[in-house]
Symmetry: C2
Amino acid sequence: MRPFVAWLLASFAVGCAAPAPRDPLPSWNDTAPKKTVIDFVTRVTTAGGSDFVAPSERIATFDNDGTLWAEQPIYFQFLFALDRVKTLASQHPEWRAKEPFASLVGGDLKAALAGGHQAIEEALATSHSGMTTEEFARTVKEWLATARHPKTQQPFTRMVYTPMLELLDYLRANGFKTFIVSGGGVEFIRAFAEEAYKIPPEQVVGSVGKERFEMRDATPVILKMPGVDFIDDGPGKPVGIQRFIGRRPIAAFGNSDGDLQMLQWTCSGSGARLCLYVHHTDGDREWAYDRASSIGKLDQGLDAARVKHWTVVDMKTDWARIFAFEPK
Amino acid sequence: MRPFVAWLLASFAVGCAAPAPRDPLPSWNDTAPKKTVIDFVTRVTTAGGSDFVAPSERIATFDNDGTLWAEQPIYFQFLFALDRVKTLASQHPEWRAKEPFASLVGGDLKAALAGGHQAIEEALATSHSGMTTEEFARTVKEWLATARHPKTQQPFTRMVYTPMLELLDYLRANGFKTFIVSGGGVEFIRAFAEEAYKIPPEQVVGSVGKERFEMRDATPVILKMPGVDFIDDGPGKPVGIQRFIGRRPIAAFGNSDGDLQMLQWTCSGSGARLCLYVHHTDGDREWAYDRASSIGKLDQGLDAARVKHWTVVDMKTDWARIFAFEPK
């Protein structure tokens, strides 16, 4: 019995000692970016320290596509628009002779996109207007519940990055208010952000389509109209932050040149700041792309990060796990 | 000693009994509106009750001018604009020959306003553009620290309604997130909302001026430009709510026809709802105005409130105290 008792006592002693602090970012390797993040959070939350920031000022903004979830082979919102066009085609016989609809319905994405920006805008307008905001949110939710990613066959809401979910939780546990600031449509992102990221609708900033309030048989509705009122991308991101949030963030996270101005705005404020780029370097587990990519191009941003000493996450090296569905 | 001991024991007994629940709305008389408000909050917060609402859905929206603070003899933001024009006049000798500036600087408000909407817009554009967002916020704060209301001689931030401050606190103590949804300029309101109402910048929705991000000597700034991008008034209020908050409120508070659509939108949702109009009926302690007023006109709204059984606060009858500076 003696050895067992000794073991038992030892176990209790271990059990009663102060537990080792739980790693807040278990999917991050112990490389420089993880240390930078934890050091920053420790400094701004240490009461009495020279870098302490009041909780109300702990605003963190996250790009969505390519930063919180994947964006290849093309923005998921665009895949939603394509599926909507196919679904609606039976009600629009005239589309058989009209581009980009004819090619889209026939499954020829390349031909459909030959019309360039205008073709994309027509497809987006068709799928994103002509209904109430509540009908639109329902449509997005139904699509997300059934659609699958063309490469991984996973639901799109599982294409979120586990390390970034941990980072969101870690920041919130330290008194941060976390916002999405995305070039994507605000109504599209709000349809899943609360469930996928624990970010409520009122903390999602995005591009904004035209909307109109009207009475329908004595019931008020808000209608989504064709046309865009605000593009929350590039220099639009700091403007969107000012407009919707009204405070300058102290931490900002992005992955492309479209996030450059958000990072510039965030990190030119006084006091401790954290600007971080996610660099897509893992062609096996995710995708590898940067300066030459048409989706999520990261070129000027990569240069700026070097000059400004911003943090750059090398997905291949710095993340132990990217997606929750990866084999362990 | 005996009576004293008895008194002492009795005092302790009283001290130890469950305290009477503190009145959450002490500046409200015990008339119908107070009962309606408390009944609504009790119902939506009673777990297991048929009217229970999850905390994340407890969104309450408040108009500002005439609902949270006074709006007579004219919107305070306009008085700020007038003072700015006077301050800036020395840098603009050309204004001596240009309306509405010449009359404004000369103190002839009536002559200045003879130019109608265009004159007002010119005065607003001059005082609300051509500077960075940070410079503008500083200017508003400096003005609020020194300017006085023409009738009461009080700082404008003391022209807030004590019963509404109690209501904001009461709702927040019951898990509500409180938002301002105002026709006023969002940057103007944010400059004082946190201190005056405990409402942080990211929970202020208002009219939005044009803004531009640019680099100034390698430092990023956001410039306020002439022109308006979004008017958060009338049918713009539900659109602003959808755009900035992304959820339909379950409670809304206003005082004019400009709030009508916000109340319609709020109270046409399903489940328990509270729509409340503040009716300015006290010409002694505040101002008395409604259907015929050019500022804060309440006409259609008063009819709608009757038909829809919304709550109408009669300031004279229902509020025991309006301003904190009133003699007790």
